[in-house]
């Protein structure tokens, strides 16, 4: 099932790349893993759907490489590439909101999937917070694309992130409350997303039944 889902994501790539990725998943030592990590990074920046699931592909390759040769070249390359993009994130955002949103989605997905001894990678905690803090700035809250990305990431990894650093999560939520309450010109959609995430965290990263009904009942209608 996992493989079929991976396959599905890979369909978006050209034939050679598909072959390369599939080989990387099965026999990582036979391919250039730096190239593979770059392909995954580049594709993630272009393709939002891919960026949401690429973490799992990365996870599979990391596992395969560790099992096969006890190595971690892929992870090293991937993380260093992520770091490189992180340094340029403000330029990325200026250049293309979509690419920026894809980047945040991807780094959060990697944070979610790749673990060290079942614990999140400490090296990514501050960078991920930095990205989310950026999305919570007033100018970013004006873009629903960014707000949507922000709340989606918090839904997925908020609880883990909070465990790693409560203080920074508190800071982030100060910004979110301010944005929700004070910022002029927010669309009501953005406000709604913010309110939901505020309630979500306040409920211990769970929505109460009634809150869920409030936010999601439209589907039934």
């Amino acid at each position: 099932m996992e493989n079929s889902s991976d396959d599905y994501r890979i369909q978006a790539l050209d034939q050679d790349t598909q072959t390369l990725l599939k080989t990387a998943l099965k026999d990582p030592s036979s391919v250039n893993l730096e190239k593979v990590s770059n392909i995954i990074m580049d594709q993630s920046l272009k393709d939002q759907v891919f960026s949401k699931e690429a973490g799992r592909i990365c996870y599979t390759i990391v596992q395969a490489e560790a099992k096969q040769s006890n190595g971690s070249a892929f992870r090293r390359n991937l993380l260093n590439r992520l770091q490189q993009e992180f340094k340029d994130r403000e330029e990325t955002r200026e250049r293309s909101l979509q690419e920026w949103v894809c980047y945040v989605t991807f780094i959060c997905n990697v944070f979610d999937y790749l673990k060290v001894n079942n614990m999140p990678m400490v090296a990514l905690v501050h960078p991920v917070f930095d990205c989310l803090m950026r999305l919570a700035q007033p100018d970013a809250l004006m873009n629903e694309e960014e707000v949507d990305c922000l709340v989606l990431q918090l839904h997925r990894i908020g609880e883990q992130l909070e465990k790693m650093n409560v203080q920074r999560m508190d800071e982030l939520f100060f910004l979110l409350r301010d944005g929700f309450l004070l910022q002029e010109g927010l669309t009501s959609m953005a406000r709604l997303l913010l309110l939901e995430i505020l309630e979500f965290r306040a409920g211990g990263w769970l929505l109460s039944g009634t809150a869920h009904k409030y936010y999601y009942s439209e589907i039934a209608d």
């Binding site: 992870r75 001894n117 009501s188």
Partner: protein, 279 residues
């Protein structure tokens, strides 16, 4: 995840191009109450003092650059690239895991063999064998402690110390003894033990010009005591009187007491409740 968001995205997108101010009407048909109902009209004046620096739109460069690197960074690793950082972390976790298994094995080894081994190996941790269940198993705590220990060991003073004083020559209360990361201590007690340990290690700092590490044991003790007093100032709530006598009894035969040296907090907090279990 949230289908309705997607459902309504196009609706919201429309508004992007239109009037951005409170046009709740489009929402109100499907919401149970108007969004504007909760908004404050006087928000600017009312909340100006509450605002963050980040809240000035023109100031955003400050706000998104400051968090970077502001957090605690591992002091042991000098690597700055994420790949290496994660590898170091992985190694550290593996080591902690391995140490824990060794420690458990040693504890389960039984008392009789334990005493022999204690005499022969003089291992810095073996004196805590009486603890069966009193082991710290929280990996995060162990990791944090290991980092602190590594920081102390990653010094010239430590290298000189282990070279000059072989294990079997080390005397409890006289020589620095690495705190046992596997025993349950309060955070405060542990940090205090680390501090004292590092203070003692400083006696082996490389010689500045003359003098050097060839001090007598008495000198070392005095230095230790002075520094302990300095540290006590950081913990004003700790009663001084309790600390001093323990420290002075350097030839205390009981290894457990040695372990308590300089950690009155542990005496009060951890030991007392644990005692009934032991007896």
């Amino acid at each position: 995840m949230s289908d309705w968001k997607r459902e309504n995205r196009h609706e919201a997108d429309d508004r992007e191009h239109g009037n951005r101010s409170h046009s709740a009407s489009r929402w109100s048909h499907c919401r149970k109450r108007g969004v504007d109902g909760s908004l404050r009209t006087k928000r600017d004046t009312e909340n100006s003092e509450k605002g963050h620096n980040n809240y000035k739109p023109d100031n955003r460069h400050d706000s998104f650059t400051t968090p970077e690197g502001a957090g605690p960074v591992s002091r042991c690793g000098r690597q700055t690239d994420w790949g290496s950082q994660v590898e170091e972390e992985e190694q550290l976790r593996k080591n902690v895991h391995r140490d824990m298994q060794r420690y458990r094995r040693r504890i389960l080894g039984g008392d009789a063999t334990q005493r022999e081994r204690r005499a022969s190996s003089g291992s810095s941790e073996s004196c805590d064998s009486r603890e069966g269940d009193n082991i710290e198993t929280d990996e995060e705590v162990l990791l944090r402690r290991q980092k602190q220990i590594n920081y102390g060991k990653n010094t010239l003073a430590y290298d000189r110390y282990i070279k000059e004083v072989p294990k079997h020559m080390r005397q409890p209360g006289v020589h620095p003894k690495t705190p046992n990361k596997f025993r349950k201590y309060s955070r405060r007690s542990w940090d205090q033990q680390i501090k004292l340990w590092k203070v003692k290690l400083h006696a082996w700092d490389p010689p500045a010009e003359e003098g050097g590490p060839e001090k007598t044991l008495e000198d070392r003790d005095e230095l230790g005591l002075d520094d302990v007093m300095d540290i006590e100032l950081d913990f004003p709530s700790l009663p001084n009187t309790q600390n001093v006598p323990v420290l002075l009894s350097t030839n205390n035969p009981s290894l457990e007491d040695d372990d308590c040296m300089g950690t009155p907090v542990k005496l009060q907090k951890t030991e007392t409740p644990a005692a009934p279990d032991m007896s």
